[in-house]
């Protein structure tokens, strides 16, 4: 079974090469990409079943044993993340295939789109199974370089402007990450995560805190945690709809995953937990306030993305198994729901010709199906019971109430407030874009629209375009998946609880790598 582990990285990489060879034959490229991601989804599911049976998977690449060679590790958290991201990548791929077929591929130049997409997948999967800090860096770089290409796809002026912000910020965070790897190597003489964890206790606490803070800043930029989140709403909305959807769903979550690993395995101590809690509070509140002030749906969704990263950081910052489990559940929920919302926004853009709530109207009548596809994930993100957003938030609040400090109660209050603000922002979109009759759009006066800002030279109304069935099907599939998270919340939550318990203290993780060692 251990042989399955490297396949998760190898198959997409080989698939990318194959897709590149067939650059002139788009149909074959699509087929290759689809098959590759389906295989990875199946492998991920098998790994999840095996790992959940209690047997973590570990692969020593090249046959070099643990501290010297590179190890790939799949525990419950990694397997869960691989499965969820493979599912999301597959759904978004179907969406973009539908869009590409309808538009004659001028939004997504086929010859490089699919290979780049697969390389992005390679990077994401590599980051999830890396058992070595430098391999994690390489995973990050693979996915970032692919994302640079995807975000500037087509090379229009707006995309290049947005891309530059994104690229420069990401480069900075990569350099910080590399610098902190160097420092950690200088301090403990290894880059193997399990061995770092064993040796970190021998380092003076102040040095530990410095290394810890450096890693957190590097990952915080990637995860878009508040003071480091400014780049996200500027850069995500201009990319093509499927690209934005997959970025919003996965890239920030890779950062969150890295933070979870840092907090539970490398630096399990509680020194920086209060700082993280304050940061989580600010991320939630500032992100939600940003969302309330936006007129553009994609921008608004980018701000809600930032604000909901705060919930996950809250779960991690608690430093308890309950908190980590809730954070893992929330990550899974948020990957799926946020991606679905961005896909729905893509459908709205095609149907209504704009993503600004100042311009849209009458969509409920024009397309009831899109209305449903937007409404369900919107309620889910806002945390309306019985959806998984509510369950995730409830679990987070319970975990923080367990801790019982003043700060954790403050965070519960802020979390509830932020979910109301999210709901308000999304329901305003609903009222304006779906309920408002199309005839009323010109000179419409409403207190709901007095406090939103929009760039004056924002792109004008585009031509509305037909919506291929495949795009709707892909979005509907994601909605069904998000509802399934609610229906099967029980098994999923117990799975994430087991994953969270594995991460209580670094010993479980270290035992995977060094099984015989007496601890």
């Amino acid at each position: 079974m251990n042989a399955l582990v490297p396949l998760v990285v190898m198959i997409p990489l080989l698939g990318a090469a194959t897709a590149l060879i067939f650059g002139k034959r788009p149909r074959l490229q699509r087929l290759v990409t689809l098959i590759v991601l389906s295989i990875v989804l199946v492998i991920g599911a098998i790994m999840l079943v095996v790992v959940d049976g209690g047997e973590p998977l570990m692969m020593e690449v090249g046959g070099w044993s643990a501290p010297f060679g590179i190890v790939l590790i799949v525990d419950r958290l990694s397997a869960l993340m691989v499965v969820v991201s493979a599912a999301v990548l597959l759904a978004v791929l179907l969406f973009s295939v539908g869009q590409g077929l309808a538009d004659g591929d001028d939004e997504t130049p086929v010859s490089i789109y699919y290979p780049t997409y697969l390389i992005l997948a390679t990077g994401v999967f590599n980051a999830f199974i890396a058992g070595d800090l430098f391999n994690l860096y390489v995973g990050f770089e693979i996915l970032l370089v692919a994302s640079y290409v995807l975000i500037t796809l087509g090379g229009t002026e707006a995309r290049i402007r947005a891309g530059v912000t994104y690229i420069v910020v990401s480069l900075l965070s990569s350099m910080l990450f590399l610098g902190s790897i160097a420092m950690i190597y200088g301090a403990v003489g290894t880059v193997n995560i399990a061995q770092i964890s064993q040796r970190m206790g021998d380092i003076p606490v102040d040095v530990q805190i410095m290394l810890h803070a450096m890693l957190l800043v590097a990952f915080g930029i990637k995860a878009a945690v508040f003071p480091l989140s400014f780049w996200l709403p500027d850069s995500y909305p201009t990319a093509p709809a499927p690209v934005t959807a997959v970025f919003a769903g996965l890239l920030t979550k890779v950062g969150v995953y890295a933070i979870i690993r840092t907090e539970t395995v490398i630096f399990p101590g509680p020194e920086l937990n209060p700082v993280l809690m304050v940061v989580a509070l600010l991320t939630m509140v500032v992100g939600a306030l940003g969302a309330v002030a936006q007129a553009d749906i994609k921008r608004l969704l980018s701000f809600t993305l930032v604000s909901h990263i705060g919930y996950m950081i809250l779960g991690v910052a608690l430093g308890t198994a309950a908190g980590t489990s809730a954070a893992i559940f929330y990550v899974v929920h948020h990957i799926i729901v946020q991606t679905t919302l961005f896909l729905a926004a893509g459908l709205i853009e095609r149907k209504g010709g704009s993503t600004s709530i100042n311009e849209l109207g009458g969509l409920l009548k024009a397309s009831p199906l899109i209305a449903v596809l937007f409404f369900i994930p919107a309620l889910n993100l806002g945390g309306i019971p019985p959806f998984s957003g509510f369950i995730g938030k409830l679990a987070l609040f319970e975990a923080s109430a367990e801790q019982g400090t003043a700060l954790s109660y403050l965070l519960i209050g802020a979390g509830a407030f932020v979910s109301l603000l999210t709901l308000y922002a999304l329901m305003r979109v609903w009222n304006m874009a779906f309920w408002r009759p199309a005839a009323d759009v010109a000179d419409y006066e409403s207190p709901m629209l007095t406090n939103v800002s929009e760039a004056p030279n924002a792109p004008a109304m585009q031509q509305t375009r037909t919506i291929p069935k495949l795009m709707v099907t892909a979005t509907a599939g994601m909605v069904v998946l998000s509802v399934a998270l609610t229906v099967f919340a029980g098994p999923l939550f117990s799975l994430s609880s087991r994953a969270g318990e594995n991460l209580e203290g670094p010993s479980t993780y270290v035992d995977i790598v060094f099984p015989q060692e007496e601890r």
Binding site: D103, E157, V164, V168, S174, M175, A182
Partner: protein, 183 residues
Amino acid sequence: MTVSLVLLIVMAVMYASGVFLLLERSMTRVLLGFLLIGNATNLLILIMGGEAGFAPIVGGDVSSEEMSDPLPQALILTAIVITFAVSAFLMALIYRSWRIAKDDNVSDDADDVAMRDFASGVESENTASASADTEFGIRAEAAVSQARDLEREDERAAAEAADSAVAASDDTNADNHTGEEKR
């Protein structure tokens, strides 16, 4: 662990100049800043490898204490390759941005400017200073305005073709998308 002071000073100077350049508006300078910071980080990894020693080849007549640590060098090699690839991409991006916008400045996000004006209640004209800060200054604009802008011409040709197509099939109605998006 002893550290070579020269390496340390070189690294610090490279980091400082790199950060300075990274904060510039011109993308070419940002690229140079990124290269400096990347190499400074490589030096940092090298410094963390400890004292210099002999080539780490097992089986020779050098004892393992006298060898230098090979792992940081492997890490540096990987990092160099990544930096190289990313700078190639950045250069392509700068060239593309220079062709489209006629300068290589990082401009403010239009929505952010709108939000700032909205908050302060001022209607300011945004995006000042077109090409004052580029390497090429006004000469860049002159060069571009003289050059044939192939992309624009293609777009124009495509738009004209689309227009005539629409005119021809005027009565065959609505949902025919021309594939041409108004930018």
